[in-house]
Amino acid sequence: MRLAPVAAERLVVAVLWIMAAITVGVLFFIIAFILAHGLPHVSWGFLTQSPGKMGREGGIFPMIVATALVAGIAVILAAPIGVATAIYLTEYTREGRLTAAIRFGAGCLAGIPSILYGLFGFVFFAITLGLGLCVLSGALALALMVLPTIIRTSEEAIRAVPPAYREVSYGLGSTRWQMVTRVVLRSALPGIVTGIVLSLARCIEETAVVMLTAGSAMRLACSPFDSCRPLSLHFYILSREGISMEKAYATAAVLVIVILVINFFAYWLVHRFIGKAGRHV
């Protein structure tokens, strides 16, 4: 039996709405679940103390520092390279073999799974370069991982700057470099910052890379060459080895809140400064 088109429409629309509701519901459930179980265990002491007994007691202060160090260094390394690449691609060259190769490289890097960045970081930074399992090895591997994101978002932001700005700048007698730094980058800044902020969030949530490159020491990392255990890895170890569900939930809640705040900030940047023209990543 074939349904009449109008009846079919009603049925399908109902099914689609239910699917959409389930999808959104599940995603919200995950966040609510973590926050409901984790937030009661988050306290000032939890955020500022060192862990004891493998993480069964105490807090997560060294892990917060580790995450800040690893993700911070990664983004500080990747951002200038990514933005410079975007400037080169948009302002300093025509489309040709080299730009195609750069885009292909960035496209492939974007597709490589994080575990392979971990493997690579382990064999290249930690062993071949002799850095060992440390903050810096992790940060370098993460920097490569987020490089394509920063290139793409910066390129989009720079391309969105109206050509007239460039023409006016040239018309006023500026050199290309002056035009790029004083006109183009200034108006593309919110878009570029958004890309960098999203990359920071990506570095904070990443686990597989730091598991193979950053070590897992629970003490406070004082230099880039110290072994460290970022929040995501700490959470993984706590929950997987069944050390403490309470602390695992609390760590997860901290992680989720940090990520949501950062993503929300990025979203706000896009809509505050770029408006409808800016595409969220």
């Binding site: 699917m19 999808t23 959104v24 995603l27 995950i30 292909f104 799974p113 949530e205 929950s239």
Partner: protein
């Protein structure tokens, strides 16, 4: 101008980091992984299901099968729901709701994968264990968790693809007397096909490369799964679980597992790049 040239050369050099990075990654992973594949023979390494590092036997067939099963399951779940959500967001929901929901869904793409895995372990796994039987840690659990994880990405790109379909197509279809659903599946899906395919392939890449969430919910046994409710070990999980203590041949075999994963991803990437390039040309043509 001289200054201009110097800046151009500097920028060009820096821009090559992306290429250099890709080459160095590929070289080092292949350099570590290829020797053992060559020594054992591709047949032995890829087609044998016997993985016993202590006895020096390295066959990854069950992990390849595991990765494919989990990814396939994830795509069935993820794509169905993503497309449903994307259609609702672009065609049926009031604009205000779309404006709120789309960024919210994108926000959710940032939830750490370990968190997805953890929520899967404490909620989904017992559910499967109690109602469907088996150990709970299974292909099904991994597929569902991965399906949910790829939702934000696939939805977001599909929404963009559907939005990119010219308004006139919709109007033409409605004017011919089609219902809105007929318009969606007869006109929009066809017009946005390449974008949707690109979204699906991207989601596939995500799913096959995901590590932490899968480790937590899949059970990680070495035997190849015979059903959806059996535990499974994927390529990514194999690397992450054993890398910590591996050395010698064992470590090489794990890198060889990485080589296999790399090959899968490059195939998917190439397809995705070709499809999106074709779409780019299509848009220019209209």
């Amino acid at each position: 101008m001289k200054q201009d040239k110097i800046i151009r050369v500097i920028l060009m050099t820096v821009a090559c980091t992306a290429i250099l990075g890709l080459v160095v990654i590929a070289v080092f992973i292949f350099k570590e992984g290829m020797p053992i594949i060559v020594r054992l023979g591709g047949r032995e390494f890829f087609l044998s299901a016997d993985w016993d590092p202590k006895a020096g036997r390295f066959g990854i067939r069950s992990m390849i099968l595991g990765s494919l099963m989990v990814t396939g399951g994830a795509m069935v779940i993820g794509v169905t729901f993503s497309l449903g959500l994307a259609v609702v967001l672009t065609e049926f929901s009031p604009p205000l709701l779309t404006r709120i929901l789309k960024p919210v869904i994108e926000l959710l793409a940032g939830i750490p994968s370990v968190v997805y895995g953890f929520v899967g372990v404490v909620t989904l796994v017992p559910l499967i264990q109690n109602h469907l039987g088996g150990p709970g840690l299974s292909v099904l659990a991994a597929s569902i968790v991965l399906g949910i994880m790829v939702l934000p990405t696939v939805t977001s790109i599909s929404v963009d693809a559907l939005h990119a379909v010219p308004r006139a197509y919709r109007e033409g279809s409605i004017a011919l007397g089609a219902t809105r659903w007929q318009t969606v599946h007869m006109v929009l899906f066809k017009a946005a096909r390449s974008g949707i395919v690109a979204a699906v392939i991207l989601g596939m890449g995500r799913a096959i490369g995901e590590t932490m969430a899968v480790i937590m919910v899949s059970g990680n046994t070495l035997a190849a799964p015979r059903g959806l409710l059996e535990p499974v070990r994927t390529l990514t999980a194999n690397i992450a679980l054993e890398m910590g203590y591996a050395s010698g041949d064992h470590r090489q075999a794990l890198f060889a597992t990485g080589v296999t994963l790399f090959a899968f991803i490059m195939i998917l990437n190439t397809i995705a790049l070709t499809v999106s390039r074709r779409q780019g040309q299509g848009v220019r043509a209209t």
